[in-house]
Amino acid sequence: MLEITDLHATVDGKAILNGLTLRVGAGQVHAIMGPNGAGKSTLSYVLGGRAGSEVTGGSVTLEGRDLLALAAHERAAAGLFLGLQYPVEIPGVSNLTFLRTALNAQRKQRGEAEASGAEFMKLIKIEAEALGLSMDMLKRPVNVGFSGGEKKRNEMVQMAVLRPRVAVLDETDSGLDIDALRVVADGINRMRAPDRATLLITHYQRLLDYVVPDFVHVLVAGRIVRSGGPELAQTLEREGYVDIAA
């Protein structure tokens, strides 16, 4: 579903991704783990199409489409969801407006009918309730005054409403207490489906206690140096990245 082939990228002229290759099939959850500076965030930004990094080689396709040829908003419409490590606060724009604008912008790009107000409210009520985000919070400006956990919950609500084909979740577990971690993990697990793929990018193993991945990859210095099953995460947690990097 998501195919990354020999991807090279630089940030400020410095090589960060150095030939990363990864295939995430439909219905699968993959986890990429790695030490600080391995290129985890750069990978998520390159996939999401954020300015600041430059792809210098390789390819990325989503269901056969050349992702790198698309602008960020076109990638979203093509089915990519990027869960941010630090969800942004946007004063003056309610969560409801934000999400409805996003949903309809995607539908419009895909040539689908836009969601009516009633249809959208029905959709978001179901998802927000399941993830424990109240209507009151959804009426408030995007992420303003939200705790770390609430911000990540909000990301999960957005993902659930936008129903992507491929979700790339960048350090979605960072800064969460155990209760919030469980809610976020539930949010990810709810979205597991045969026609959807998920890529978790994380530093720690603890999210993987709740979202059991099909594959675990170790990213060091911009390349995947080792791949394995879920047990690899435990090995890493126990032994650290040092030996693997060596």
Binding site: H73, I90, P91, T101
Partner: protein, 362 residues
């Protein structure tokens, strides 16, 4: 032309009055303009002025007086309007008078110089709402003097939606004790504009709110200047302005609060913020305080900034195209001022004006 202020005068340093004489010399075009989509669904009187002349046939006057008001407000441009205008609204309200509902004025300029001189005089505890919409081209020069007696309330809205030309606007308002003057200005059109008000709080519990939104693009030069004088103790004033400058335009907003020696317990707040949508645009934001009393609460804030790049990317990562993301964030920025408009119908209309301006860029 006589005595136009120049940029050497501090209070006029950002205004562009250079083209006014040339605009005054342009011929008027007497084609009948269609103003039907400018009316708000408010059910009150509707007055149409074309090139500074009242058009009775297109209006629904409901007994309101239309005449030239000769009281000079003490302002170079306002005085000229008071001297030369041939018409204007003369609204006098008593608390017992039949409520005529919100008064709408649509002023169409087709070229040359179009002037209006109006007066709004409210008796104790009377209230009124007036919405002015200015469209067309040429130079529109309007002035309005406002006198609010004890406990009177006036809500005013000024929409400058001109397709070109210049708009100059001066208000002089006196506000007695427990009276309230509220105004919202929206400037989205005209090649240059100067929207100015001097509001004098004269009694205990007097309240003034002067808010505005200035949207500039192309080579436009827009300038708004508000002076609130706290002449008596116990007055409250609010000024919230949001301006946006794109392309090579200039949007300037200055707000001054002057607190007289005896005006103790004054409560004044100003918030003047500008957003630059292009590096080639210019924004000036200047809040000023002149305080001669010692027991006052005065707050002011000003900023000039750009759209948050992280927020722009966040929206794009969710599927919103760059122009749409820009428009949504700009709309949010303007909300601080727009959301303060008390009349819901007016608020929605003015917001729609702003959104139309934003959409025009897409």
């Amino acid at each position: 032309m006589t005595n136009l202020p120049t940029r050497k005068t501090e209070d006029w340093r950002w205004a562009d009055l250079s083209g006014l004489d040339a605009l005054a010399a342009t011929p008027a075009n007497d084609a009948a303009p269609d103003v039907s989509d400018l009316w708000l669904d408010l059910g009150g009187p509707r007055l149409v002025f074309v090139d500074g002349a009242f058009v009775e046939a297109a209006s629904d006057r409901r007994g309101l007086t239309v005449t030239a008001v000769r009281s000079a407000p003490g302002h170079p441009l306002g005085d000229r309007a008071a001297r030369e205008a041939t018409t204007g609204l003369w609204l006098t309200h008593t608390a017992t008078a039949t409520a005529v509902g919100p008064v709408q004025i649509v002023h169409v300029a087709t070229g040359g110089v179009s002037q209006l001189s109006s007066r709004i005089e409210l008796a104790p505890n009377a209230h009124a709402e007036v919405i002015e919409t200015h469209v067309g081209k040429g130079w529109s020069n309007v002035t309005c003097t406002v006198a609010l007696a004890e406990g009177a309330r006036l809500m005013r809205t000024i929409r400058v939606l001109k397709e070109g030309g210049a708009h100059t606007d001066f208000t002089l308002a006196t506000v007695a004790g427990a009276a309230s003057y509220t105004s919202a200005a929206l400037v989205t059109g005209a090649d240059s504009s100067r929207v100015e008000a001097r509001i004098i709080l004269q009694g205990n519990g007097a309240f003034a709110e002067a808010d505005g939104v200035v949207l500039a693009r192309g080579d436009q030069v827009h300038d708004a200047f508000t002076l609130v004088e706290h002449a008596h103790a116990g007055g409250t004033s609010r000024q919230v302005w949001r301006s946006v400058a794109d392309d090579r335009s200039t949007a300037s907003v200055a707000g001054r609060v002057a607190v007289a020696r005896d005006a103790q317990k004054t409560d004044a707040e100003q918030s003047v913020k500008a957003l630059l949508l292009a590096r080639t645009a210019t924004a000036n934001a200047k809040p000023e305080l002149e305080i001669f009393a010692d027991d006052v609460k005065c707050a002011h804030g000003a900023s000039v900034g750009e759209l948050n790049r992280d927020a722009l990317f966040y929206l794009q990562s969710r599927g919103v195209d760059p122009a749409g993301a820009k428009a949504l964030l700009t709309r949010a920025f303007l909300g601080d001022a727009l959301d303060r408009i008390g009349d819901e119908v007016v608020r929605e209309a003015v917001t729609a004006d702003a959104v139309a301006w934003l959409e025009a860029a897409r």
